[in-house]
Structure formats: structure tokens, C-alpha cells
Symmetry: C3
Subunit: 194 residues, 3 copies
């Protein structure tokens, strides 16, 4: 399960980086500031998880591709922000996908580093929501996720499914698919309801 294709992991990073870049653009940051927010939003969740479980250097530090996709997201948003804003519904859907991917990947990695089931679930959620928290702290705002609990609950659900599947020794592929779908659908439903 810790072989969750790197493509999916990088996709999640890209989408979260878009959210960071958008937030920075709205606050009038310049290009460099926008790129820092991209990287922070896309990678802080995974870096926090890796520091806490002792996976050093963290994936996003040891592998330059995480930086690469984050910077591309930052550049695209900075120069085509009107396009990204117009696509904001699509971005929300991608964000739901990113959240699902990160929660699943995060809890899997925590399990593979020997964490107990409860804390592996929590770390899956941290992986999913950490980027948004750091993004908001850097903008001197109270993190949105603290005000919108369904967001975190969706991540928690996916992480819990992964951990329960692991405890019951269910097939990885099935568990991953169910976890991803649950988180994604919970988020999409929440978005539709506004």
C-alpha cells in the first residue's frame, strides 16, 4: 500500500499547491511568495507526517519532483489566475481528490512505520489537512479547516478505512479504492450542498 503510485501522490501535491497559490494570489503576494505558499500547501502535510514518524529526509525534501510540481502550480496560478478562478469548481473537485489521496497515503505510510492504528488514522488526516493549515498560518489567518469540520472528517474517514482494512487484512487494492471513494464522495457532496 505504500507503493501508492507516485503519480497519484504528485497529483495530490499539485492540486493542493494550486490552492496555496490561489490563496497567495488573492492576498496580493508576488511570484516568490506565491511559490512558497504553493510548496507549503502542497507538502506541509506530508513533511509533518514524515517528521513525526521518523521518515527523514521527508519525501518532499528528498525527492525534487514534489518541489517541481508545486512550482508549476505556483507559476500557472500566478500568470493565469483568472483561468484558475474561473475553474474554481474543478479545483474544488481536484482538491477533494487530493485530500483522499493524501489521507490514504498518509495512513498507509504511518502503518508501515509501525504506528498504532489510532495514531496512524490521525496521521492520515494530518497528511490531508496539514498543508491547508500551514498555508493559512502563513497568511496570518485562522485555518479554514478548523471552521469546516466536514473537510477533516472526510480525511479521517478515508484514513480509518485504510487502518481497519489493514487490521482485518483485507486486500490492499480494494481497501484503497473504498477509502479513496468515500473521502472523495463525502467532499463532493459537501461542496454541492455549499
Amino acid at each position: 500500500m505504500d507503493k501508492l503510485p507516485i503519480v497519484l501522490d504528485l497529483t495530490g501535491t499539485f492540486v493542493f499547491a494550486l490552492s496555496g497559490a490561489l490563496a497567495g494570489t488573492k492576498r496580493g503576494l508576488d511570484l516568490f511568495g506565491v511559490m512558497v505558499l504553493s510548496f507549503a500547501a502542497g507538502n506541509s502535510g506530508g513533511i509533518t507526517r514524515d517528521l513525526l514518524i521518523g521518515a527523514v529526509p521527508p519525501g518532499a525534501v528528498g525527492d525534487w519532483r514534489y518541489l517541481g510540481v508545486s512550482l508549476v502550480a505556483g507559476l500557472v496560478t500566478f500568470y493565469f489566475s483568472s483561468l484558475i478562478v474561473r475553474m474554481s469548481n474543478a479545483v474544488l473537485v481536484f482538491d477533494a481528490a487530493g485530500l483522499a489521496l493524501f489521507a490514504v497515503a498518509g495512513s498507509s505510510k504511518a502503518l508501515s512505520f509501525g504506528l498504532n492504528p489510532v495514531m496512524a488514522t490521525v496521521l492520515g488526516m494530518v497528511t490531508g489537512i496539514g498543508g491547508g493549515i500551514v498555508r493559512d498560518v502563513l497568511l496570518a489567518e485562522i485555518p479554514t479547516v478548523l471552521r469546516a469540520d466536514l473537510y477533516a472528517v472526510a480525511a479521517l474517514a478515508a484514513a480509518a478505512i485504510v487502518v481497519v482494512g489493514y487490521l482485518l487484512q483485507l486486500p490492499d487494492a480494494l481497501v484503497t479504492a473504498v477509502a479513496l471513494a468515500s473521502c472523495f464522495l463525502l467532499r463532493v457532496m459537501a461542496i454541492k450542498r455549499g
Copy 2:
């Protein structure tokens, strides 16, 4: 000294988690946000210390009971916040006890990981005040402890007593008792003076 009963450590976590939950409730966060603040306030000091001394995974990540007491504190505060507010003097006294426990436990653990006396003292203080700092940063406020130095000085005093006692090879139980009492009394006096 690093066998400081887990009950006391969890008590400190619970009390600090209450302070986080109260701050979150006052700012109108929903249940999930309040629970995140509970966990952050109760555990950030210890997690920071553990990352800095290389104790990975940190106690609060490897042992689910820290999460457990934090969530209970969050739930109680969210649903009975008027009760907690009415008991606010009691909460302040518990907070003084939590600060003392964390400063003592923090400096002991830093010493046992081979840090030099000066930095072990500092890490004792960090263990005590780190939770409140992260709580306030998450609420986009300047940390109260930066404005109220007696708070940190009380933690520093307890940590220094532990470290000096260690250097002079005084009996653990005595040193611990004196350190706890000093920090607690300094805080209680400061509270009484307003």
C-alpha cells in the same frame, strides 16, 4: 526521572488541552476545530521537544492516550463550556500544575537524551510553553506567553532546578518535588496578584 508517572504527564496534557479548547470555543470554532486546538495545546510542547532531541515518534504520536485525554478535554469544553468558564480559576490552578509537570518532565527527558545542561533547561521551558504558543498561532494571535514573562520564567525555574539537581546528583524525588512546587507556587502567586 524519565519515569515521571504517565498519569501526571497525561494530567498536564488534559489541563493544557482544556486551555486550547476554551480558546477555540471563545473564537467560535466548531467541534472539530476545538478538538484540534485541544490536541495542539496539550501536545505541541512535548512533540517539539521530542523532535528536537530525536525521540521519534514523539510520545504524543506513538501513544494514543495523549490523543485520548486531549479529545475528552475538547468534548467536555465544547459541550459544557459555561461550566469550564465558571471554573476558570480552577482551570488556572490546574494550568499552573500542568506547566510545572511539563517543565520538569521536559528537562528530564532532554537530559536523558544527552543534551547539555543549558539546552536541557531551555527544552524544559519549551515543553511547558510550546502548547500555548501553537494554540495562539493557530488562532492568528501573538502568543500570550510572549507578553507575560512570569509564565515562562516559572517554567524555566522548574527546568533549571531539575538540571542543577541532576548536575549535583541530588536525589531525584526531592529535586522533582522542589521543582514542581517552585513552578506551581510562582504561577499561583502571579495569578493571585492578577
Copy 3:
């Protein structure tokens, strides 16, 4: 190159600590708050780098001299802040020197811990700008460096020169000198232009 004399490293810490202390004094913090900001501004960049590359305990935690120079900077600024404000041009020049030293030391250390060239460059920049970011977050402000990209670009340039020199196996002393001079001159020019 990881033998960059400790004197230079501590000088960088001192200058950055001054910037933290000044910011704290301006916001009306008391002595303890000013000293926390001194330490945070002088050492957060290096501590972050060390946690990310797995150098535990971080230099600024294992060696009390980093704390020592930070506290001296805090004390001096708190009691003679009008002097420091009057010398603010000198402080800016020292800050440029500190940035250059930290970027060079940071990328060297990351390389010596086996990071790939791209991420070693980024970590050099993080070492240089991390302290200022934490300083501003503690003051509940959007970090200045996110709004002033030339600052980070100067650090990035120095780090990139170190990494390219390492890849081309050029002599350490030459590479270090060129990297320091480039960052320093870029910053001084930016300051002169206002």
C-alpha cells in the same frame, strides 16, 4: 565546506536575532518575549534545515552558544533599542551578511547529508529565510519575505552557487567566497535602491 567557521555562523545568528528582537520591541513585547523572538529569528532556519535532513539534535539545540548570542542580541536590543534603530542601516548590512552566511552554510550542510542538488539549494534558502518567517508568524503577520522576493532570490543564488561548485568539484574556498559575495551584493544593491 561544512567547516564554515563557527564564528561566522554565530555572527549570522546574532544579526538575525537582532532583527527578531527589533520586531518584538516594536510590537511592545516585554523582555522575555523579545528574547524568544531573538532566538526564533536567529535559529529557526537552521533548526528547520536540521530537522529536515535528519541532523538531530539540531546545531542550535545541541550547542548552547547559539542560544547565548541570541540572548545577547535580545538584551542589547531591549535595553538599547533606540541605538539599534539609529543603526538600522548597519543592521540591514549585517542582515545581508547573515543571509549570505546562512544560505551558504545551509546548502553545504544539506549536501554533506546526501541531499540531491535541487533540494540542497532549496534548503540553503530555507536556512536563510526560515528565521524571518517564524519571527513574523509569531507576531501574527504575513512573513515579509513572501512580499519581497529579492530577499529570497539572493539566498537562492548563494545556495545555487555552492551546489553548482560542488557538482563541478571546484575548490571550496573559492566557491564559498563567490557565493557569499553574490548574496551580500545582491542584498546591498536591493537595500540601496530601497
